[in-house]
């Protein structure tokens, strides 16, 4: 009788089809930068080559002042590319998406309340072809967040046209008699992709000299 080994080996091979059983693992890795938002503490010890996104990282923790007093500091996501600041802008970043889409992130600061939240929110709405809000609607159209001893009024609007929807994510922060504006605007899909990064960015904003 011939050997039955080959068919049996084939059956054994077939039964090998066990699934991967997930397991909790632990390991040690050299200190690494956060993929999106490198904090000052980790960049200092990471021997990585500077990346093109590092201009954003190098903006981290650089204080910006208003005419009325000390300003704010922040850490920008690594993939936001810093643009040169201008007379109007404290800082400016470009965010690129797919198929050449770009979004703009700007940080501006002016003395006083610059007309109040309603006027500024309506200015943003006008930029994406939305009708202005009435004063009574402002409270439901914005959210309020307290972070790092700052009070943030956060807005999120989608406008533009059905073919080319635009979106604005903005935060207004009053600091020492001045008002700071953080605005992310661009094509709605790209801004949606960056929403978590924007929220995380706002968490890093704090008064110069304040502890993180």
């Amino acid at each position: 009788m011939r050997s039955r080994l080959p068919p049996l080996a084939a059956v054994a091979l077939l039964l090998l089809s066990a699934c991967r059983d997930p397991k909790i693992a632990s390991y040690r890795v050299p200190k690494e930068k956060d993929p999106v938002m490198p904090a000052a503490t980790s960049t200092a010890s990471t021997p990585a080559t500077p990346t093109p996104a590092s201009p954003g990282a190098s903006m981290a923790n650089s204080a910006h002042t208003t005419p009325d007093g000390p300003g704010l500091i922040w850490s920008a996501p690594a993939h936001w590319t810093a643009k040169p600041a201008s007379a109007m802008r404290k800082a400016s970043y470009a965010i690129s998406g797919e198929a050449g889409a770009t979004a703009d992130f700007s940080i501006t600061a002016f003395p006083g309340d610059v007309g109040g939240d309603l006027a500024n929110v309506n200015r943003w709405r006008g930029q994406i072809q939305l009708a202005p809000l009435a004063a009574a609607e402002l409270a439901t159209a914005t959210t309020h967040v307290d972070s790092n001893n700052l009070h943030l009024t956060v807005a999120d609007f989608t406008g533009g046209t059905p073919a080319a929807p635009l979106r604005v994510l903005g935060a207004i922060i009053p600091v020492n008699g001045a008002t700071w504006f953080f605005k992310l605007s661009g094509p709605a899909p790209l801004v949606a992709r960056e929403q978590a990064a924007f929220a995380a960015f706002l968490q890093t904003v704090r008064a110069a000299g304040a502890t993180p």
């Binding site: 089809s17 200190k31 956060d34 990585a48 990346t51 996104a53 809000l133 439901t140 972070s147």
Partner: protein, 387 residues
């Protein structure tokens, strides 16, 4: 050989079985191709080909309705091997057929091993960026990292499947328990234009500002499910806080302090670390003149190992992958002008289809060659007789 064994053997050696299995394969491939519209290629592969049975759910009970790829392929393999052993006699005249069948057996075994062993990851690099890990296309993990040490991070990773079970997780390296409270296999941060903010259950971190809502699972080839979860960390003195973790790459790790040590927590794409690192030196993206159609794209990479055994530049472009340490790095995609996406594949059995095809080609050449020689010899004989 007793009667039962003989019947068993005859069943597997039978040519009828081969025909039935081939017919079942055709139906399986047709059904899978049609269903690809609904499920996408990855889910179709899992459901129809990398399974013993195609299952339909009746209520909560999975009911097998058709043999899956592993079962049909397995039976074909057994059928071929049995036929090879019991039916085909190895002789010079049949050596071509014999070799062709050996090639086919190797092809089937190769496909099985590929299904079992192949791993695919993506490596996304910005120009100037170095990485010593790649990330899974489909799987995610909760990473809790102690960042107290100035030189190293100690990472505990919990696969998404374990997180999804919702059971409390205790690990020897963590001074707290992780209790998943809510888990969404796919989620998004909704627009809250003129509406009340999405409720968030988080008491710490980014979840204080944003909430998530569940989405239906996507099976599209160009989309990925992004899970989210609310996780509680519970220390010896009680609740430390509840964090929203979300596998969106835009969501950075969230840092906190506990027991005098620094930590960060993130739900991220599952990582596969390697004993070497790759740095993207330059990404080039050529387009056809006057169009946005990519003509050629390539990545100039620096490969180096920590101990300095390897430190060299390589150019990866379409159809010219880098093969290193059992991995193959293909130029797969890009994101913007300065970001490359490489596909990283580990397939220990990658050579088997090449060997199989070579053997089958050789076998067919020999078999047809033998027939050709015999045919020519016969014609010459007839011609000689006629003359």
């Amino acid at each position: 050989m007793n009667e039962v064994t003989r019947q068993f053997r005859d069943f597997f050696v039978s040519l009828k079985l081969t025909i039935v299995l081939l017919a079942l394969s055709i139906i399986l491939i047709f059904a899978a191709t049609v269903d690809q519209v609904n499920l996408g290629i990855w889910a179709v592969q899992q459901k129809y080909f990398h399974s013993l049975f195609v299952l339909w759910r009746v209520g909560d009970i999975p009911v097998p309705v058709f043999p899956g790829g592993y079962l049909i392929g397995g039976f074909l393999l057994i059928n071929l091997i049995s036929a090879q052993v019991y039916r085909f006699k190895l002789s010079a005249k049949k050596s071509g057929i014999w070799l062709t069948h050996v090639g086919l057996i190797i092809l089937l075994i190769g496909e099985l091993l590929t299904g079992l062993w192949q791993e695919e990851f993506a490596l996304r690099l910005d120009e100037g960026q170095s990485k010593n890990y790649s990330e899974s296309y489909r799987f995610n993990e909760l990473a809790v990292t102690e960042t107290t040490d100035a030189a190293f991070d100690d990472v505990v990773v919990i696969p998404e499947k374990i997180l999804a079970r919702g059971e409390a997780i205790q690990h020897a390296k963590l001074p707290f328990r992780i209790v998943p409270k809510l888990y969404y296999p796919n989620a998004t941060i909704p627009e809250n234009d003129s509406k009340a903010p999405t409720p968030s259950h988080a008491t710490k971190g980014i979840g204080l500002q944003v909430g998530v809502v569940p989405l239906p699972l996507t099976y599209k080839q160009d989309e990925r499910n992004l899970p989210a979860a609310y996780v509680e960390l519970v220390g010896a003195d009680g609740l430390i806080g509840t964090w929203l973790v979300y596998a969106n790459p835009g969501m950075p790790p969230q840092r906190f302090e506990y027991a005098g040590r620094s930590w960060k927590i993130a739900l991220r794409y599952e990582r596969n670390y390697k004993p070497f690192s790759l740095t993207l030196l330059k990404f080039s993206n050529d387009r056809y003149a006057g169009t946005a159609i990519p003509k050629n794209y390539s990545s100039r990479i620096r490969l180096n190992t920590p101990e300095g055994r390897d430190d060299r530049e390589v150019l990866i472009y379409m159809n010219n992958p880098l093969r290193y340490a059992g991995l193959t790095f293909y130029q797969a995609s890009f994101d913007g002008p300065k970001t490359t996406i490489l596909q990283v594949v580990r397939n220990p059995s990658w050579q088997m289809p090449y060997i199989a095809c070579t053997l089958m080609t050789l076998g067919l050449l020999i078999q047809f060659g033998i027939h050709l020689v015999a045919f020519i010899a016969r014609r010459r004989k007839i011609a000689a007789v006629a003359a």
